[in-house]
């Protein structure tokens, strides 16, 4: 009887240990998911803002070339975005 009780207690202890481990793993995954979502949102925002500012720079450059062409002046510029030093 005593051996059975000890075995049951051991089993319960093991179950509690595994449950706690599973909970800790799930919590860790949950936290990682929250962090990934936040990081992704921030990076996407930066990317979208940069995409818009690059577009504005290209439009300005192209409009200058077109205006020069309309005025008969030589138009050799390319509608490129200025180099971003942070990319280097």
């Amino acid at each position: 009887m005593q051996a059975l009780v000890i075995a049951l207690l051991g089993l319960i202890g093991e179950l509690v240990k595994r449950g706690a481990q599973a909970y800790a793993d799930a919590q860790k995954q949950h936290d990682e998911l929250i962090a990934a979502a936040e990081q992704g949102l921030l990076e996407a925002r930066v990317l979208l803002d940069r995409m818009k500012s690059d577009h504005d720079a290209r439009m300005d450059a192209a409009r200058r070339v077109i205006a020069a062409a309309k005025g008969g002046a030589p138009a050799s510029a390319r509608a490129s975005v200025p180099e971003d030093p942070s990319d280097q």
């Binding site: 979502a37 996407a44 450059a61 192209a62 309309k70 509608a79």
Partner: protein, 137 residues
Amino acid sequence: MKKIVALFLVGLLSGCAGAMDASRKSVVVGVHSLAAVADVLGPVDQAKTDAAVQKAQAGDPDGAQADLDRWDQQFRKIAASLSLAWDALRALADTCTAIEEGREDKSMLPRLAVALVEALARLSKDLADAGVKVPGL
């Protein structure tokens, strides 16, 4: 786009904690999709503006101006749709946090799902109208 919608619907159909994680997975997939669109749009934007410049240099500045204005309008529509989709994803992430903290009710999720689906549908339409193809979306 379909992946985000599917993931979100799976989240809604599963339990509360599962729905929160599935919703956050939708956010992660969603922001990667938006980044993919932005990555594709950069070179397309460069090509469109270069083409307009070449047209102007070839002696058709009025045609170049018209092409550029048309592209600018399409680009701004796509950019607005991207921002709308980003806002929908931000709202989804914030609402998940609020639900977990007990500040918000789960009944918000279907409304956010509709907003997200509408934003993605609008983005897809704007991309299609502009002839921009994004691989994998």
